[in-house]
């Protein structure tokens, strides 16, 4: 089976189109926002957000069925974002604050899900996503949530770059760094919500963190940093999607799309680490 066959076969199926749209917008948003997660060292905070979003997802599912998932996730994410941003400003050691929120929210989520009739099925869907069974409504909502995240960061891009590089300098030149941080955290929350649906709550971090981390390894300036992260995110998402489709159809082994994509992202990171160890310094960092 060659690539053309795979593509034509895959995209004759409506569910593949839906998966591709969800993943495409998610990859763009995660690629851009992941760069800032990396630059500002917000990996652990993002992890805290994914856990905090979980009870929202669970409650939405239990009270309003599949359609309630996005709404629940957005509400939980909004609440958690504001709390986490303010806590980290108040100089409660932010790691401790995140750890407390992370575990308490996640257990609340599990308790909520346990009230549901079909516990195992719903838990699995919430934790590992349901890329190939997303509904048209979910496609539209996740795409909108991703576009919102992209818009928030693109509209504040200069301030975000300045604040990431040198927060005090940014404040000194008149930027509201608290406002910018809040906007960034809301964008991260949006990506977490969208990714929870596509690749699942447990696998969000791969999509959010890997592209920025890889691109940082190789770029010398800002242009390469953003371009690299976006290209990697799109390419890895495409590879994961087509890979899981090919194996599922060709070898008749059903592979969950979300997990396949997370594996491709992480494998990309490993390869990048390996190449970086091998390639001499001079050849690296070509573009600015």
């Amino acid at each position: 089976m060659n690539l053309i066959d795979i593509l034509s076969q895959a995209f004759s199926l409506p569910f593949m189109w839906r998966a591709a749209i969800v993943l495409g917008t998610l990859a763009l948003a995660a690629g851009l926002i992941g760069v800032f997660v990396n630059l500002r060292g917000l990996e652990f905070m993002s992890d805290g957000l994914t856990h905090a979003v979980f009870p929202g997802v669970a409650a939405g599912f239990v009270f309003a069925g599949q359609g309630g998932v996005v709404v629940g996730a957005i509400l939980a994410a909004a609440l958690a974002t504001v709390v986490l941003t303010l806590l980290s400003r108040r100089r409660v050691t932010s790691d401790a604050a995140i750890a407390i929120i992370l575990t308490s929210m996640f257990s609340v989520g599990v308790i909520i899900v346990s009230r549901s009739h079909d516990v195992t099925a719903s838990l699995e869907q919430l934790l590992f996503g349901h890329l190939f069974t997303v509904t048209v409504t979910e496609v539209i909502t996740t795409a909108l949530v991703c576009l919102l995240a992209l818009a928030l960061v693109l509209l504040t891009l200069r301030g975000q770059v300045f604040t990431s590089f040198d927060e005090r300098g940014a404040a000194a030149s008149g930027y509201s760094t608290l406002g910018l941080t809040l906007v960034l955290n809301i964008a991260i929350a949006c990506v977490v919500v969208a990714a929870s649906i596509a690749v699942g709550n447990l696998l969000v971090l791969a999509v959010l963190i890997v592209p920025g981390a890889i691109s940082r390894m190789w770029s010398r300036g800002l242009g390469g940093l953003f371009a690299g992260a976006l290209i990697f995110a799109l390419a890895a998402a495409a590879l994961g999607l087509l890979g899981s489709f090919t194996v599922s159809v060709g070898a008749d082994v059903a592979i969950p799309g979300g997990a396949a994509i997370a594996v491709v992202f992480v494998a990309g990171y490993m390869l990048s680490l390996l190449f970086r160890a091998v390639v001499p310094d001079k050849i690296r960092s070509v573009d600015a």
Binding site: T156, R158, V161, G169, G174
Partner: protein
Amino acid sequence: MTETRLLNLDDVAFAYDGEVALDHVTMHIDPGQAVALIGPNGSGKSTMLKGVLGVIPLVDGEMTVFRPKKGRGQSGRIGYLPQDDEIDADFPITLRQVVTMGRYRRLGWFRFPSTDDRQAVADALEVTGLTARANQRFGTLSGGQQQRGLLARALATKPSLLLLDEPFNALDQPNRDALIATLNDLKSRGVGILLTTHDLDLAREVCDSVLLVNGTQIAFGPREEVLTLSNLQQAFRDVQVEVDEHTVVLPGHEH
């Protein structure tokens, strides 16, 4: 207060995290005037700079910072040089991109850099002797070059008031001399300067006035009038001070 005064503080107090960190500051900076802000560690020097920048709140007194008047938009900005150790050396950004940050506020959120903006960046790189390094990754520059790069960023704003936090730290002799020359040149073009330093000798080469603090203002005025033994004694308890190449262990050091 004269029309052109860049900075005027009248019995000002600044608070940091809800606590007053520096109070009773009464000082001013005129165009072309350089003031050295001197005091021991934790005496409120950085607080003072942040207060003037408006990053931390003023809780008492009155402060007037020069603001650009309509139609004179090219001057009136405050340039700020942070301490080098606050910068993430591993950040993927070129020197030119760092210096361009000095233009961000003028550019607003969306406008692309114009010829003027690019010229200001080129000029700032030229003055700091970094033109050849413009496309290098910032983190690969030496400590002294990074410091000069951040100075170039401050200069790219075309400031009329320049605030520098320990600008002479991490600089070797040639870089020090170059910085002193740059600062003196800025002064001659009417830029006001406020810099923190531990080194009284360096302060002397650039600054005509001194603001001596230790949690509160001890003295402000012409250098010779402020740097008296009794004033220094009040500011630096338990520390050594270098005055005219002599190390003076101030009374109060012995316990």
